[in-house]
């Protein structure tokens, strides 16, 4: 294999080796169909949030509110269930809140020039406050309709329902980013915002739309997570933030240009998911799991940078 191919497929090969390693370590458990089913389910919400992060990183911005949006959407949905509202009203209402929150991020960034790191952290904290207030800080798990639970549970022809969500969301995102004019504009903005502005691209509108979509995807991830668990806590989405960006960064190591891509992000999600799942199954101590996960992310990204520098 040539050096070019190794650079291009190295992360994918590493992922395969990881799977082979865990399959040898725990053949009956890790490689079992039941565990593959679990893995797909476990990766789904992270994959969707990481896709939201990928879209925003494509325009060279950050969205730190993704986890907060996920929590708030789930809380709103469950509060509405508690008041007797139907799934068909509660779910769109929760998604709408995510989209509006995301659009507000976009307005703060594009219209007012606030750095995305600051704007999304501030707005995310506000969303978190609403989630806390609405839930009363309690874990909500009553009055959940079966129709809602079926959003993220069970299977169709042996494939987990959440697997279809991954294909649908990431498929559409990948298509938009690579095959549409809108996607090309986003990449142009991310590549050189000043040049894009001088070229007359509608930067303000595109940035607002990108953040709005990211907010909507985050809300969707929160709803699917709530459906999978059957319960909601006002902080439930927050742990998604760091793994989502870790997945995007790992994914960039599989990209020829080092730019975020949906396929790369999916690979990053798969690597982080398999790492935690595999190490849990083979009984690696939790502190070792954390150290190894961090080291792998660091090594992958560092080597990519070293490779590009050469």
């Amino acid at each position: 294999m040539t050096r070019t191919n190794l650079n291009r497929f190295g992360t994918l090969i590493a992922f395969v080796l990881l799977c082979v390693g865990f399959s040898i370590a725990a053949p009956a458990a890790f490689a079992s169909p039941a565990n593959v089913f679990n893995l797909v389910q476990q990766m789904a919400t992270l994959a969707i949030v990481a896709t939201a992060a990928t879209l925003v990183m494509t325009i060279s911005e950050f969205d730190l509110s993704v986890g907060f949006s996920a929590s708030l959407a789930a809380v709103i949905c469950f509060v509405l269930f508690g008041q007797g509202y139907d799934v068909w009203l509660a779910v769109p209402a929760a998604l709408l809140v995510g989209i509006v929150g995301g659009a507000a991020n976009g307005v703060l960034v594009a219209r007012f020039g606030i750095p995305s790191f600051v704007a999304t952290l501030a707005l995310g904290t506000i969303l978190s406050g609403f989630a806390f207030g609405l839930s009363g800080g309690q874990s909500l798990f009553q009055s959940v309709p079966d129709g809602f639970k079926s959003l993220a549970r069970g299977d169709v022809f042996g494939i987990p329902v959440l697997g279809f969500w991954i294909v649908a969301v990431l498929g559409v995102a990948a298509f938009v980013l690579t095959q549409t004019e809108f996607g090309r504009r986003l990449r142009a903005i991310g590549g050189n915002a000043q040049a894009a502005r001088l070229a007359g691209l509608p930067i303000v509108r595109d940035v607002i739309v990108t953040f709005a979509v990211a907010g909507g995807l985050s809300a969707l991830a929160g709803l699917l997570l709530a459906s999978r668990l059957g319960s909601v806590q006002h902080t439930m989405g927050e742990p998604l933030l760091l793994p989502a960006y870790a997945a995007v960064f790992i994914g960039t190591t599989a990209s020829p240009t080092g730019a975020p891509t949906v396929a790369g992000t999916l690979l990053g999600v798969a690597i982080t998911g398999v790492m935690v799942n595999g190490m849990t199954i083979v009984g690696v101590e939790p502190f070792v799991q954390k150290i190894m996960t961090g080291v792998i992310i660091l090594v992958a990204v560092l080597l990519r940078r070293v490779g590009r520098a050469k």
Binding site: L18, Q138, I271, V295
Partner: protein, 309 residues
């Protein structure tokens, strides 16, 4: 890129090596919690591990640091990894009902310690949290003569802790001369530092003698944080009570600090009961009941034989 492959390969080899050690011992029991950072949860898990050693079980402990999604995922992993039993600590299994149902369907018994009764689990060993809250609240209110101002440190996301809060709500209703002047939802993990910061702010917002007479802590760690703030501010006339019988809290009671009482849950005893019943279950028997209670004890200066100036 050769090196990144090598790094991941190394991870696999290391995992393989560790797993060989883990699988070498007896039956595997997975202990999973989102709250290992809490001292009480840690105490229960350590006691369970000690008992498991007697039974020659291999115990895998997993902590998800408050992440409920990861908690659900790790329960799924334990179910597929061939664990003989799953022990959930300090969490209501209804919060991950689907995963608990799957474990039951796979024939893996699920035991909860400090959790809640559930149709898909074989046993919950706990204390009656409402009684814990009631006992502590009555003691604290008595200490301030059933009138004055209190502040509340709470964490309603934990169903057991929420029961204690309900006991406080009932007591406040029954004692109209006691006013709650501030409250704080405690951040977990990091509860001691978070509570200290919150108490700092409460003291500044309520200056003067008698502005705050007592601190009601839903468990001991927030109370310990509040005590740090009170000591640093040099405020007198404020008493603190908590729940759990945390050793640090007991030391503070002995040291004649503002911390005057805690209700000890028998955490070690809970874990011992759970392990004993699980041993019966793994041998083909059934638990004595689907919920068992460990005894509780009010610990005060008097009960410790301490006389303070």
């Amino acid at each position: 890129m050769h090196k990144s492959i090598a790094a991941l390969g190394l991870a696999s080899i290391l995992a393989l090596g560790v797993s060989q050690g883990a699988l070498a011992a007896g039956e595997k029991v997975s202990v999973i919690t989102p709250f290992l950072a809490a001292i009480a949860t840690g105490e229960m898990i350590e006691a369970f591990k000690a008992k498991a050693t007697e039974y020659q079980w291999t115990v895998d402990v997993v902590d998800t640091a408050g992440d409920m999604a990861a908690f659900a995922s790790r329960v799924e992993d334990a179910t597929t990894s061939g664990a003989k039993a799953i022990v959930l600590v300090s969490v209501d299994p209804a919060q991950i009902q689907d995963q608990v149902d799957k474990a039951k369907a796979a024939g893996v018994p699920v035991v909860t310690i400090d959790g809640a009764k559930n149709a898909s689990t074989v046993l919950n060993v706990t204390s009656d949290n409402y009684v814990l809250g009631e006992t502590m609240t009555k003691f604290l209110f008595d200490q301030i003569g059933n009138k004055g101002n209190i502040v509340r440190f709470f964490y309603s996301a934990h169903p057991g802790v929420h029961q204690r809060e309900l006991a406080l709500d009932a007591a406040l209703k029954a004692n109209p001369e006691i006013k709650q002047v501030a409250d704080h939802y405690v951040a977990v993990p990091g509860q001691v530092d978070d509570s200290r910061a919150a108490m700092d702010a409460m003291l500044l917002a309520n200056p003067g003698d008698g502005a705050i007479n007592a601190v009601w802590a839903a468990w001991d760690e927030p109370g310990i944080g509040a005590n740090l703030a009170i000591e640093a501010a040099g405020r007198k006339g404020i008493v603190i009570a908590g729940i759990d019988g945390n050793p640090q809290a007991i030391d503070l009671i002995k040291a004649c600090s503002a911390y005057i009482g805690t209700v000890r849950q028998g955490f070690g005893e809970m874990a011992n009961i759970a392990a004993g019943e699980l041993n019966t279950i793994l041998a083909g028997g059934t638990a004595k009941a689907d919920e068992l209670y460990a005894p509780v004890e009010l610990i005060t200066r008097e009960s410790l034989g301490v006389s303070c100036p």
